[in-house]
Subunit: 159 residues, 2 copies
């Protein structure tokens, strides 16, 4: 597996209540882990709690696509690597790959479309400030060297 | 909005811990609600706990795509309507629409690709028994009359 050095990582153990009747990580908790990894990515891009409190700006999720590739078990310790596939003035198309030492390939991959929103009387999409845009662009350029972030989003259909 | 009569529904209130720092339902908990709605759909298609215990067969999620269309708040009560877009011998392509009385349009839509799996020494995709296949086909034919289940899965990209 390609080393995903230089990309942000988020680590988490598995909690008992995340295991379902199939004796593996419930699909929705892959999503919760990717959601926490997105919070972590926000911090790293400068959109942390202080920024959110000061500006009333934050990120909203518009779309999510997860590929479930391998079963995750209670004893696994997971690492999520984050990248940015593309971005514009207001949006980030982020990619995540979930791995654990037991598996030789990703357990899951995810893509989010995220919108920078000002939470006023009505939430409204607004451009990133220049300093955050620069951090987004830096990570996007790093991610370009790591095409192995995983199975890409696509229309879901029987093939 | 088109009435989604005759399709299975799953209802849930919102829990405090599902609300995030944006003061709305965290993206991952839309996913948890859709996951519980999938459990409910399994029951309705005959793949309930008794079936799973007797056969060691269950459903695994292969892919998930969520469109987040509206913010959901702590006070909302949600209804998820389930349908089946397509199916083959081993797979169900399921669609879900999440609504609440406060909103005139869906708060979110989701699609899952689900695989019928026998949990032996190694999990293995296996065909549905005839009685379950018949229930799947009945729901698929009902769903065909309800194209409004919502925003369809697609490749995620900046447009």
């Amino acid at each position: 597996m390609t080393t995903l050095s230089n990309l942000p990582t988020y680590r988490t153990p598995i909690h008992d209540e995340w295991i379902d009747f199939n004796a593996h990580l419930r699909d929705a908790y892959y999503g919760l882990i990717f959601s926490y990894a997105t919070d972590d990515l926000m911090d790293q891009l400068g959109m942390d709690a202080a920024y959110r409190a000061r500006t009333q700006n934050t990120l909203y999720s518009l779309e999510l696509h997860i590929h479930y590739l391998r079963e995750v078990k209670r004893s696994d310790e997971l690492t999520v690597t984050a990248g940015i596939i593309a971005a514009d003035r207001k949006r980030i198309h982020a990619a995540f790959s979930m791995t654990c030492p037991r598996l030789g390939e990703p357990a899951a991959t995810a893509e989010f479309m995220l919108l920078h929103v000002h939470q006023g009387a009505e939430p409204k999409g607004v451009p990133f400030p220049d300093d955050i845009r620069a951090k987004v662009e830096t990570l996007r350029s790093l991610t370009g060297a790591h095409p192995s972030l995983g199975a890409a989003s696509r229309k879901i259909e029987l093939r």
